[in-house]
Amino acid sequence: MTVRSAEILRPPFPIAPNPLAKNSREEQAPSFVAEFPSTQLLVRGTRRLGMGDAVSYGWLLGPALLLVYWSLGSATGFIDGRILPAPWVAVTTGVDLIEQGRLQQHLLVSLLRAAQGIAFGTVAGVLVALLSGLSLLGGYIFDGIIQVKRAVPALALIPFFILWFGIGEVMKVTVVTLGVFIPIYIHTHNALRSIDIKHVELAETMGIRYSQFIRHVVLPGALPGFLLGLRFGVMGAWLGLVVVEQFNTTSGIGYMINLARNYAQADVMLVGLVLYAVFGLLSDRLVRSIESRSLTWRRTLAQ
C-alpha cells in the first residue's frame, strides 16, 4: 500500500464535533486539535493519478541522456570508434563539411523535398479523408484504394515511380508526399468517423447549412485526430527522404550518406544520421506545440 506520510494518524470517531452539542464540545476542542495537528487531519492521502505540471524543455531529457551515454562510451573506449564514431567526431566532421559548402547544399535540397512532401501530403490527406470520411460512397471508393497503397511498401513502388515520373524531383517528392499522405488520411478519416453523434444531432436541430456543419462541428472535432496524423506524417516525410535519396540522386542528405558509404566514411554517414535525428525530433516538437496551442479546450491527463 502506498502512503504519502510515514505518520498517518486516523482520528477516532466522531471526526467532526457535533454542532448541536456545542457547549460541551468547546472545552474539548483544543485538546482535539493538539492531538491531531491540522496537517495530519486529512489522512486519506488521495493518490494523484494525473502527471503534475510540465517542465519546460523536459522533452530534451531522453535525447540528452542518450548523448551522455554515447559520449561516455566513446571517451572510455567502451564504444569502438570504428563501429560508431564519437559525438564530437560528428560535430567536427559537420563543421568541415560546412566549410566545404557541401553540407548546407545537401541539407537545403532535403529540406525542400521534405517541405514539399509535407505540404502536398497534408492537403491531399485532409481532402481525401473528408471525401472518404463524410460520405459513404466516398468511403467505398477511396478507403479500399488507400489500404491497397498501405500494403505496398514505398521501396517496392519506386521502380514504377521512376518509370512514370522519371528520375527527377517529381518522383522524389511523390514518394515523400505518399509517406505523409497515408498517416494523415488514416487518422483524419478515423477522427471524422468518430465525431460524436450527439454533436451531429445538435447541429441538425439548429437547422444549419452543411458548410457550417463542416466548419463548426466536423473540422474542430476531427482536429485532434488530424494533428496526430500530422505527427506521423512528418516522420513519414523523413523516412521517405531516406529511402528516395538512395536512388538516382546527386544531392540531399541521403545522397551524402550513400556516397560516404561507398568510401567507408563512417564520420560523414554519422553526420547524415544525426541530421535526420535532429530534424525529426524538432519537427515533432513543432507539431506538438501546434497541438497544445490549438487544443486548449481539452482537459487531458497531460494538462
Binding site: L202, T205, M206, Q212, W297
Partner: protein, 239 residues
C-alpha cells in the same frame, strides 16, 4: 383558442431503440407549457425525437406540424467543447447582432462575464444553463426539452426550475418538457400529458389555484391522478 403551434395526428413509430408510438394525437397551443410524463420505455423520448425530426431511421406514419423556429435542450448540455461559451450560445444563429444577443442570453441565465470560458470550466448545472441560453437566443416558437434536469443534483434542479419558469414567462415559447418526475411536471407545466406504451393515456390541466391551501389540495389531487396513470400506488409514492 388560437391555432396550435404543434399538431400531431396518428403518429406511429416502430422499431426504434427507445420505444414505440401507437398512434399519438397531440396539439400544443402557442406559449403553452406541456409536460410529457411517462415511465422508461413509454415512448416519450421517441415522441420528442419525432417532433424534432431527429429519428431518421425510424419507421412509421402520421402527421407532424411544427414551427420552423424550434430549439431542443437535451439531457446532457451538448456544448461543443472547442467553442467558448458565447460561441456555443450563438452557434448556428445567423443574425447581425448575434454576439450581442448571445451576451444577453448568457446574462439571462446568470452567466454574464463567462462569455470566454471553455465548457470544461463549468459545472453540470452551469453547462445546462448555457444550453438553455443557446436554445432561447433563437427565440423559438417551440422549445423541446428531453429530461433537461435529469442529470442535475436536487438543489441545482430547484434553481433550474425557477430559471425555466422565469425565462419561459419572458420568451413565452410553447414548451414540451419530457420528464419522469411527477412533481416537476406539476410545478412547471400548464398541462400534463401521460404517455404509456406509446399512447396518450391522460391529458390533465395543471391548473393550480392562487390560494395556498387550495393549491396544496389541487397539487395532491393531480399528483395522485398522475401516479395512478403511471402505475404507482400512493402508498409506494409516499414511501
Amino acid at each position: 383558442m388560437s391555432a396550435p403551434v404543434v399538431r400531431i395526428r396518428g403518429l406511429v413509430r416502430r422499431f426504434t431503440l427507445k420505444g414505440v408510438l401507437n398512434g399519438v394525437d397531440l396539439d400544443i397551443a402557442p406559449g403553452e407549457f406541456v409536460a410529457l410524463l411517462g415511465r422508461s420505455g413509454s415512448g416519450k423520448s421517441t415522441l420528442l425525437r419525432a417532433i424534432a425530426d431527429l429519428d431518421h431511421e425510424a419507421q412509421g406514419s402520421g402527421e407532424i406540424y411544427v414551427p420552423q423556429r424550434l430549439s431542443v435542450v437535451f439531457q446532457d448540455a451538448r456544448l461543443l467543447p472547442w467553442k467558448r461559451l458565447l460561441d456555443n450560445v450563438i452557434f448556428g444563429l445567423e443574425a447581425p447582432d448575434a454576439r450581442e444577443r448571445g451576451r444577453r442570453a448568457l446574462e439571462e441565465v446568470g452567466l454574464a462575464g463567462r462569455e470566454q470560458s471553455w465548457p470544461y470550466e463549468l459545472s453540470g448545472g452551469e453547462q445546462q444553463r448555457v444550453a438553455l441560453a443557446r436554445s432561447l437566443v433563437r427565440e423559438p416558437e417551440l422549445l423541446l426539452a428531453d429530461e433537461p434536469f435529469g442529470a442535475l443534483d436536487a438543489l441545482t434542479r430547484i434553481k433550474m426550475h425557477a430559471l425555466v419558469q422565469r425565462l419561459s414567462a419572458i420568451h413565452n415559447p410553447a414548451v414540451l418538457l419530457v420528464t419522469h418526475d411527477v412533481d416537476e411536471a406539476i410545478k412547471l407545466a400548464d398541462r400534463i400529458v401521460v404517455l404509456d406504451d406509446g399512447a396518450i393515456v391522460a391529458d390533465i390541466a395543471a391548473d393550480l389555484p392562487e390560494d395556498p391551501i387550495a393549491h396544496l389540495e389541487r397539487t395532491a389531487e393531480i399528483r395522485a391522478l398522475l401516479l395512478g396513470h403511471l402505475g404507482v400506488r400512493e402508498a409506494e409514492a409516499v414511501d
